[in-house]
């Protein structure tokens, strides 16, 4: 079997190539990044397929036994994210060939981001997770600042300051977890934490969740997000919208499910549900009040990640499957939406909700694509956006958690209002219908949007599949807890 370390090592080592090669020969960055990402994607799909078909794929780096060494694990929970990262990276790369920045150093950052995010998904060591969180963070700060506008530098600095505080709070939590138990391995922590001193276990949980909530951008820890996504080049905004918060939310879910059950569950659940509710309400409100479509989409993420957290709090197998589906689906839909925003800014020079008026007539196909993505974000069947929310709501009802179910329903109504406002402008608004295109887009840009739209529809039926994959993993985690042993 392939060593999962390669999924991380290939893009990280490969990142050395574009920055150097482009200095020797211009414009070699993009093809080199493509080559590295193709290799990584093949490995990712291969390992993920093996993990989903049979047993989880695991390794101990350098052969140091668990729980002393660093373990890597591709199971049904991490496999979908490993594949998502690889494929989203390829799709957005197709877009950036014409639509994005072209310097070699930029493509080095691109590969470092992908390597870092993959590392967060596969590691089972809480400190190792911090290192990869910082690689992906640092790469994203640089990529946001790539945009020419001066505001991009300030947005990137804000992203850096807030993001580093988030990562450092997480590190502080790792410190508490280590002091309380003497281990950094997730499975060993799960066995040791409930027996540890309560204040220490609670501090570890609180700080790690707080730090990751900053990275996920739950309200009121979201302030970096709208500025960064609005200021970033469109390809970068799409890539970050697809992956950055998604992977942080995966890490949050992994910790809540695989490390912290048994630590003050009632208090933690209430706090997380409150955070999720605040994100759903405030995110929707801020989205409704946004003039810029990019900001609207960024604020919409607050609400969408609030729903994902609801699923992790409910934590029945159905709800967890719903959260995973919604994370993947949201990544596809939100990335696609940002690609459309970038494409329309290029072809029609439009950026605000007002400027989108009448676009359906001027650019019918792209508008139709955006409509599908927006309906998905609202949660209309048969899109993947519906599938995720449906499973979370179903899980909430099964668990008898009516608050959680009501939150999911409310988020759909809110989405209808703030995204419906954009769609209404595009389809019935009176715009400057005579204005012709102001620029051209490349086939790669259209192709990337088309892939996102098709995936939004095609993934709509994926719910039962994911639930089936996850069942053995969740059983294994529960069995491990019941026996107090390392699964």
């Amino acid at each position: 079997m392939i060593d999962p370390a390669l999924l991380v090592a290939v893009p990280l080592a490969g990142s050395a190539l574009p920055a150097v090669a482009s200095r020797l020969r211009p414009r070699t960055g993009w093809p080199l990044a493509l080559g590295v990402l193709l290799v990584q994607s093949v490995l990712a799909v291969w390992v993920a397929a093996a993990a989903l078909a049979g047993d989880p794929v695991r390794t101990q780096v350098a052969g140091i036994p668990a729980p002393f060494g660093i373990g890597l694990l591709v199971d049904a929970l991490s496999a979908p994210f490993v594949v998502l990262i690889a494929l989203a990276a390829l799709a957005v790369l197709a877009y950036t060939r014409r639509g994005g920045p072209r310097s070699g150093a930029f493509y080095s950052l691109y590969l470092l981001l992908i390597g870092g995010l993959t590392g967060v998904c596969v590691t089972t060591d809480v400190f190792n997770l911090y290192v990869f969180l910082e690689i992906s963070g640092l790469a994203s700060y640089g990529m946001v600042a790539q945009a020419d506008r001066g505001a991009a530098a300030l947005a990137a600095l804000k992203y850096l300051l807030v993001g580093t505080v988030g990562a450092s709070l997480y590190l502080f939590g790792v410190g508490y977890a280590y002091v309380a138990t003497g281990t950094l391995d997730m499975a060993a922590l799960r066995a040791a934490l409930p027996a540890a001193s309560d204040p220490l276990a609670l501090a570890a949980l609180g700080l790690m969740v707080l730090g990751l909530s900053v990275k996920v951008a739950l309200f009121p820890l979201h302030t970096w997000k709208p500025d960064a996504y609005e200021a970033a080049p469109p390809g970068v905004a799409a890539l970050l919208a697809a992956l950055a918060s998604t992977v942080a939310a995966y890490a949050l879910g992994r910790l809540l499910l695989a490390v912290f059950p048994g630590v003050a569950e009632a208090v933690v659940d209430a706090a997380l549900l409150g955070l999720a509710a605040a994100s759903i309400v405030a995110g929707s409100l801020l989205a409704y009040r946004s003039e810029s479509v990019a900001r609207l989409l960024a604020y919409s993420s607050l609400a969408q990640f609030g729903i994902v957290v609801v699923g992790f709090v409910v934590a029945t197998p159905t709800a967890i499957a719903g959260s995973v589906v919604h994370l993947i689906g949201h990544a596809v839909m939100k990335a696609g939406s940002f690609l459309v925003v970038g494409l329309l800014a290029r072809t029609h020079d439009v950026r605000t909700v007002a400027e989108y008026a009448g676009l359906a007539r001027r650019s019918p196909y792209v508008s139709a694509g955006f409509a599908v993505l927006a309906l998905g974000l609202i949660g209309i069947p048969p899109t993947v956006g519906f599938a995720g929310k449906f499973y979370i709501a179903l899980g909430a009802i099964e668990a008898g958690s009516w608050t959680a179910a009501a939150l999911v329903l409310a988020s759909t109504l809110f989405g209808l209002v703030y995204l419906g406002r954009v769609l209404e402008r595009m389809y019935v608004g009176e715009g400057d219908t005579h204005a012709g295109p102001t620029g051209a887009a490349s086939p790669g840009m259209y192709a990337a949007v088309a892939v996102a739209v098709l995936a939004t529809l095609a993934l709509g039926g994926v719910g039962p599949l994911v639930e089936g994959w996850l069942a053995p993993v969740l059983d294994g985690l529960d069995a491990g807890l019941a026996m107090g042993v390392v699964p």
């Binding site: 060593d3 090592a9 200095r23 780096v61 052969g63």
Partner: protein, 138 residues
């Protein structure tokens, strides 16, 4: 920025002290398995020599002898060397980064990795300093 004036006291001091710091840095870099030190510590100390020269002789003059292409290439070289040692274990069927995979004492691959770390750290720290200190028009 004000035009830079060299001070003979400073430049002479740097000339005398630099070889010692460089030696200390390399010693620290190579001696990490036996005592305090390692790639990071040694790499930073080696880089501090370049920073010292920049403070003494001016940034642009010092940088002229250290072009940016080479700095990034050296940084990449260290990263790739580390990856090569780590990946070589896979070739002989052992886990990634297994230092016992090569039929020799693990000290040797560890030393290679330390040097790789040192090369990357020294070149990156030097590069960062010049990149931040250089005037925009350069």
């Amino acid at each position: 920025m004000k035009p830079y004036h060299e001070s003979p006291v400073v430049t002479h001091t740097v000339r005398v002290v630099a070889p010692f710091i460089l030696t200390f840095g390399l010693f620290t870099l190579l001696h990490g398995t036996k005592s305090v030190g390692g790639g990071f510590q040694g790499g930073v100390i080696v880089a501090s020599v370049a920073v010292l020269f920049a403070f003494a002789f001016g940034v642009s003059q010092t940088e002229a002898t250290l072009p940016g292409v080479r700095i990034v290439a050296f940084a990449a070289l260290g990263l790739l060397s580390f990856a090569a040692v780590a990946g070589a274990a896979l070739v002989v069927g052992r886990p990634f980064l297994d230092t016992t995979a090569f039929g020799v004492s693990p000290v040797y691959p560890v030393e290679v990795i330390e040097v790789a770390i040192g090369v990357t750290v020294a070149s990156v720290v030097t590069g960062l300093f010049f990149e931040l200190a250089r005037a925009d028009d350069a």
